[in-house]
Subunit: 449 residues, 2 copies
């Protein structure tokens, strides 16, 4: 722990204390349960005011790194890995029923709700009756700016806030995209794909083709044959096959789009945050020089499924079309949620949360992969990305199923995601988003001997 | 004011004190600026604990009836009519720019934001991480129950919460209705109508007919000739003509719907709250015995345009169809807003707010009508309902326009609302939702002599 602060660094004293203790916890120098110096003692040692130390401790406490015990002081609460879900949701009035826990996938239970609640209260206090004023039809400007900056920092995407449209989740945005791009054209989704997608195109009554995949993702020749003019893909990590589209295929699809003036690519980047080795795969929106790619993402996966906020980045040439065709429509997301989310991103909480989730899922992933090597006759294909992979299960399917069921791993026949009939009888999609770490460890201990 | 409480009445003591003082304020027995007895003195007089009186005063203060002055005590703040907008938004940090005030129509600035903010904080505290659990696709159960009870109390509509669908405003709900009822049919709107409506049908690419009106509303013969199977109407108070559809025409339209198995009526009840004499017009949904009417309403008008919460009541036979076709879709409204609104309704705040708004608009309406009698050569048609009426302005249009502009009355040529060309050159729609009371009174004083 620091013995003095750098008063000329330009970094606030409170921030320096916060960073230092946080670093010590993350590196393991301070371990779980360890007592911190009293606020008064630390203030004296560092020659700063008591308030400065109080602010740093409050921040660490809000974020779940430390906790106060009455009449005793502050203790490290963080385990050095991911934040312990139980300790974060320890307030008794917040206990969830088993059913509700099921609905909250693993990620959401790690969500720093105390921070979110603090920001909500702050937004009520600071914005007051301004919360009654509707936002621009594309969303609150501050949130669009924060998303623009976030995409630049994390995805290397350079997009003006003017091109960002906030919507009530991706379902809503896909409905709007159909209204924007028009109904007199054909939309192509990957086959297999996320089953809601084909239902959205179906209820919208537009022509919709299921385009088959090869090992690299959507097949360009199948795409060309299909006659579609909008290709809806998830190149960062395809659901359900887990394919990460290589750069060669991205270029081919980009070239396909450039060959027709009315061709577009909808890039669904739904779980690009989870990449287990190497650099993040660059987005197609970032590659696009001719205004053909629409980027779509959501906060429902990374924050909580009840937070229905998604967004899309339009190429500039579509922004004007949006204004003309859909400029009359109101933004469906309450301004209150938009301001809260903007503060969550600008305060750095969102990226810290993502990092905690990544650590958590990295551990889970390693355990799940280990477990699957213990199942005889089962082979998996995984591309070191996302929270699901494919498994070929022969012979002992019942054992695998019942184990997965007991520890929160979702396992679904791949065939269920195909739009056209497909022969994939022994292949399963394994989704470990809600897997229970303890059950996995126990199984490995028992069987792995 | 009470001298004793009824301890056997079953009504809590705090509630009795609250009701009594509120009654005295509303009836004018206690007038604005008058001082209330101190909490201690009242507690002694009524022989109740100090806390009981404190709770009653806090409730009255939250709702804007009384206000605390430091080291002096409690005073009546309420004017006996509508709550004074300025006093309700008096907190300096809540001041709005002129532009924001323009966006907030008159009604929203009367909204009891302090109550709303209190309920928001309560929901955060009481629901905690349950706010991260997504609601049913049709919305939070508690809110659907509150809306069901509200409709029964206020509109005499008997509808099960299971038939109520919450959505992000009426635009969103109309989009969903098209997906529910299908695209292989023709939709008919009133001509003229609210201009967003025809745009929504247009961007959805469904066949859409403008059905002409006669003096009683949508013409049944024009409807029959049009070939539409879904009639979209606003019988309680048509926008923009102001027609209140008489019961005879409602019956004719009901009969039309019953003549075809696939015929439906969408009843937009957007401003049924504002009826200036006589009983409220019964809803068509309430008349419907054969499951042909879909009732749609929104809180954006009555609470604030930034609160994007609307709802619809489906006839039972459509609930199953919804489940099959759209059961996969997520509710776009955050659960947080849904719980807050449910508490706003269940606590009685919503109806009190509506009553305050009605009083406010009743005064504004009388002033506007008086002003229009002062304009020579101008005749109006108004059906004692809603916040707008039609005016025929001959000769002195410039004077009328510039006056309306100066006091926040919106005035728009009726021709702008027609889908087909129509000859209505001198007719205007006068909307006084945001009219300024003082300007109106001043004008009447100056010109009325």
């Amino acid at each position: 722990m620091l013995d003095s602060l750098d008063k000329k660094s330009g970094i606030s004293l409170y921030q320096q204390i916060y960073e230092d203790i946080r670093g010590d916890i993350l590196s393991g120098r301070l371990s779980e349960g360890e007592k911190l110096p009293s606020k008064r003692a630390l203030a004296e040692r560092l020659r700063v005011s008591l308030v400065t130390v109080e602010n740093a401790y409050a921040q660490l406490s809000d974020e779940g790194y430390i906790t106060a015990r009455e009449r005793s002081g502050y203790y490290v609460r963080y385990s050095g890995g991911a934040v312990d879900a139980a300790s974060l949701s320890a307030e008794p009035q917040y206990n969830l029923s088993d059913e509700e826990k099921d609905e909250l996938s693993g990620g959401a239970s790690l969500f720093p709700f105390t921070v979110w609640a603090k920001l909500m209260r702050r937004v009520i206090l600071e914005r007051g009756t301004k919360l009654l004023v509707p936002s621009h039809g594309c969303g609150v400007w501050e949130l669009r700016c924060e998303i623009s900056r976030y995409l630049y920092r994390v995805r290397g995407i350079s997009v003006s806030p003017e091109c960002i449209v906030i919507g009530a989740g991706t379902e809503y945005l896909y409905n709007m995209l159909i209204q924007l791009l028009g109904r007199d054209r054909s939309y192509g989704t990957e086959d297999p794909c996320y089953s809601k997608l084909s239902r959205i195109y179906a209820v919208n009554g537009v022509s919709h083709q299921a385009v088959s995949l090869d090992a690299q993702g959507m097949s360009v020749s199948a795409l060309a044959d299909s006659g579609v003019s909008v290709a809806h893909i998830s190149p960062a990590h395809h659901f359900p096959t887990g394919i990460v589209m290589p750069i060669s295929r991205r270029r081919e699809l980009m070239y396909w789009a450039e060959q027709g003036d009315d061709r577009y690519i909808i890039e669904d980047d739904y779980d690009s945050e989870y990449r287990w080795s190497g650099k993040p795969v660059p987005s197609m929106f970032g590659m696009d020089r001719t205004g053909r790619v629409i980027y779509v993402n959501t906060f429902s996966v990374t924050i909580a499924p009840s937070v229905r906020i998604g967004y899309m980045c339009l190429p500039e040439r579509l922004v004007e079309l949006w204004e003309n065709r859909l400029g009359f429509s109101s933004c469906p997301v309450p301004v209150f949620e938009q301001y809260t989310l903007a503060e969550f991103i600008s305060g750095g909480y969102f990226e810290r949360h993502i990092n905690r989730m990544k650590k958590h899922y990295r551990r889970i992933r390693e355990l799940v992969l280990q477990v699957f090597t213990l199942f005889e006759g089962t082979t998996i294909s995984e591309e070191r990305a996302g929270l699901h992979f494919l498994a070929d299960i022969c012979g002992n399917a019942d054992e695998v199923m019942s184990f997965c069921d007991s520890c929160g791993i979702q396992i679904t026949p791949l065939s269920e995601y195909f739009i056209r009939k497909a022969d994939s009888d022994d292949r399963y999609v394994v989704n470990y988003r809600s897997a229970d770490e303890d059950s996995l460890s126990r199984y490995i201990k028992e069987k792995g001997r």
